[in-house]
Structure formats: structure tokens, C-alpha cells
């Protein structure tokens, strides 16, 4: 029977995890990547990557698939669409349980679970997803030809996507919870100058209403506390990012935003446990920064593992 012990286990198979896998396998470590979603992570959410050096333009899906194939070709095992059901990071030999049945042990772990778009978390949102509520303008914009829609958010994505949605929609209302936007000035100016866009500031959606499809929303003004119901054909939500670290609470040190705290070598507070990619504190979250982290974490983990093996031989 094949052993379930790996030198290195990587949790998360986005650009950071796949890069860590490539470096781990090339350092002759028996390496396993466990990934909850599709290999490639947020890359597969990206239609076009035009800023990855050396590749002029490609789809996120293609870049993610190539990274995964590269990792596999170097000998890395990848399991996608799995769920981590138990994790023990504290001992010298760390244990990972998958789907409540498969047990793995390892000398070192790299945590690279990335992040995801934030949802509003208000009544009706889950049921009406794909029935008027969307998180992707490029995917679903053309369903809203000549429709009256709302964009929720005040950052770059919200304002840029609102402008792009005016290609389809007859009217776009941007709803933002504060009295000012967090986006770059040029994005704000472009939205303000677009005749199809208007703004509802200091406000938030508190309910989505509709049976088979979205019909209306309730909007609450944060200053007056007054709620209004508004008929609407669609709502696009772009309200930022949360790290996928809920499963790590109490297992490694996280900061107040849920990001994994790391040293310069990307080691967490636990020896032999490293973190890489969008889940660690940083200002710029891009594929290039994720692959850089994956490289550093993997080489740090390789040093740790080789040192551990040398120590064992010396005893």
C-alpha cells in the first residue's frame, strides 16, 4: 500500500500553492497539494491575465492549468475539490484529514488558501444568485441588456465594473455604504462622467426580494435609518475580499483581518508551518506576488525538512 506520509503538504492550489508544489517537487520532496476548489484558484475566475511577465496574454484558466500540469510533471500529487476535515499542525509530524476519511501525515505544511469575494450576507442573496444577483460583470453582463441594475461597492472593481455594465444596462445605480469612494480618482471620475450611472451613498441593501427571479431590493440609508423598496432587474456585488482562513482559527496566529501572520521566511508561529499568497498580510495581491510567496515558502520548508532529516541522522 502506498504510504500516506508526504514530506510536504500544501493546502490550497492557487498560484501560490502550485508554485510551492513545483519548487517542492523539484527539491525532491514528496509533495501533495490539497485544494478545495479547481486547481488554479482565483486564476480561473480571471478572463484575461495580461500582466504575468513572459506571457503576453492568456486566460486565467489556461495559466492555472499550465501551472498545475507543471507541478504534476515534476512529481507533485494534486487532489482538487477536497475538504480539509481535520488539521493538527502542532506536533513535529503534522496530520491532515480530508473528506472525513483520508488521513495524511507530513513534516511540513504550506498554507495557501487564498481568498474570495465578500458577499453581502443578507436575506435572499443565496436563493437569487444567478437569478438577478451576480458577482461577475464579464460573465453575466449580457443578460442585462436595457435593464435597470444596481452595482454594490465603492472600490476600483465596483466602479470599473459599473462603467463596463453601461454597455448593456439602460441605467446603473451604484450603492455604497460610505459617503466617499475608496477607488482610484480616475475610476471615480470615469463613473461620475457616465450619463447612465447615478449614485446612492451612505446606503446598503438589506434584503433581496423575488421568487423565481430578483424583483426588488430594500435599501437602508445609514444616516436617516429610513428603508426604501426599489424595483430592480439585477444587482452586481463587488465589495472586496476575505481570506479563506476560517478553518485555521485557533490553529495558527491570524491578524485582525484573518490573514496568517508570517516571518520574512514566510513561517507562521508554528515551526514547519508556512503560509503564502493572498492569505498573508500584504498590500498587493496579484499572481506575481502569490508565485513569489510560493517560491519563498517552499524553499523555506525544504530547508526545514532537510535540516530535520539531518538532525535525525545525527542522533
Amino acid at each position: 500500500m502506498e504510504s500516506n506520509h508526504f514530506d510536504l503538504i500544501i493546502i490550497g492550489g492557487g498560484p501560490a500553492g502550485l508554485t510551492a508544489g513545483i519548487y517542492g517537487a523539484r527539491a525532491k520532496l514528496k509533495t501533495l497539494i490539497l485544494n478545495e476548489g479547481t486547481a488554479g484558484g482565483q486564476l480561473v475566475l480571471t478572463h484575461e491575465i495580461a500582466n504575468y511577465p513572459g506571457i503576453e496574454s492568456t486566460s486565467g484558466y489556461m495559466l492555472g492549468s499550465t501551472m498545475a500540469r507543471q507541478a504534476r510533471d515534476f512529481g507533485c500529487t494534486i487532489r482538487s475539490n477536497v475538504r480539509i476535515s481535520n488539521l493538527n499542525l502542532n506536533d513535529a509530524i503534522k496530520e491532515v484529514e480530508v473528506n472525513e476519511k483520508d488521513q495524511y501525515s507530513t513534516d511540513a505544511v504550506i498554507l495557501s488558501p487564498g481568498g474570495r469575494s465578500r458577499t453581502l450576507g443578507v436575506p435572499g442573496e443565496t436563493d437569487l444568485k444567478g437569478r438577478g444577483i451576480s458577482y461577475c460583470a464579464t460573465c453575466d453582463g449580457d443578460f442585462f441588456q436595457d435593464k435597470n441594475i444596481i452595482v454594490v461597492g465603492g472600490g476600483n472593481s465596483a466602479l470599473e465594473e459599473a462603467v463596463s455594465l453601461t454597455r448593456y444596462a439602460s441605467k446603473v445605480t451604484i450603492i455604497h455604504q460610505f459617503d466617499h469612494f475608496q477607488a482610484f480618482p480616475h475610476a471615480i471620475v470615469e463613473a461620475e462622467q457616465n450619463e447612465k450611472i447615478d449614485f446612492v451613498m451612505n446606503s446598503k441593501i438589506t434584503e433581496f426580494i423575488g421568487e423565481d427571479r430578483l424583483r426588488s431590493v430594500t435599501i437602508e440609508n445609514a444616516v436617516t435609518g429610513i428603508s426604501d423598496k426599489r424595483e430592480i432587474d439585477g444587482v452586481f456585488i463587488f465589495i472586496g475580499y476575505v481570506p479563506n482562513t476560517e478553518f485555521l482559527k485557533g490553529k495558527v496566529d491570524l491578524n485582525q483581518w484573518g490573514e496568517i501572520k508570517v516571518s520574512d521566511e514566510l513561517q507562521t508561529n508554528i515551526p514547519g508551518v508556512y503560509a503564502a499568497g493572498d492569505c498573508i498580510p500584504k498590500k498587493v495581491r496579484q499572481v506575481t506576488t502569490a508565485v513569489s510567496d510560493g517560491t519563498i515558502a517552499s524553499l523555506s520548508a525544504a530547508n526545514y525538512i532537510h535540516q530535520k532529516k539531518r538532525d535525525l541522522v545525527a542522533i
Binding site: 476548489g37 479547481t38 486547481a39 480561473v44 475566475l45 480571471t46 478572463h47 486566460s59 486565467g60 484558466y61 489556461m62 482538487s80 475539490n81 473528506n99 476519511k101 444568485k129 444567478g130 437569478r131 438577478g132 444577483i133 451576480s134 458577482y135 461577475c136 464579464t138 460573465c139 453575466d140 443578460f143 442585462f144 423565481d212 427571479r213 439585477g234
Partner: protein
Amino acid sequence: MLQTNLTHILSADEHKQFIEQNENVMICCGRMGPMCVPVYGVMEELEGEYEHIEFADMEFDNPEAHVIRNAPECADFMGLPFTVYYKNGKIVKATSSIQTMDQIREVLDEKFNVIVEN
């Protein structure tokens, strides 16, 4: 053609044959976009596990995909992909937009009555 490892359905005729010749069928009709790719990924993963079910994709922009786009069960859909489940040639469930592996398993287990241990 979609860049997946699933069976590709390319015409309305192929679609008709596919759902008539197989008792349990799941077809994902989409593009190579962020909401669709994860669903294809889950289907590829589940294909080996759910042997009683046939999995396929169909390109949303193929004119022949009207068989899915215009299905009454998809009338209110405004998010890709349109995922349709057939039993003995009839639609038993349809979903719009991205779905997780757990959501897809739930439909497969409920509609096709084949519980697979994960």
C-alpha cells in the same frame, strides 16, 4: 468547443440522443468564464465517482444550445452557467450560476438516487 475534459455536446441532435440514451444526465452549458470553469472542474472530479450518471458540457454561444437556453426551466436564469439535470430525457432540476461541489452532490444524490460515499 469548451476546453474541458468532459464529453462535448455540439448540436441539438447530439443533445437529444445523449439525454435519450442515458438515464441520468448532467449537462453544464456555459463559457470558459469564472462562474463556469469551477462547475466543469467539479463535474470532471465527480465523473469517476458517479458512474451511473453521464456528464457533458455544451457551449452557451453555440446556436444549437437553444435546447438548454430556451428550456422553460431556465426561463428566469440570468447567470452562467445553466446546469441542467435530466432523468429519462426529462429535466428534473436546473441551476443558474456557479455551484459548489456540495451543492452539485446534493442534486445528484437527490435526483438520481445514487448515494456515493465521499
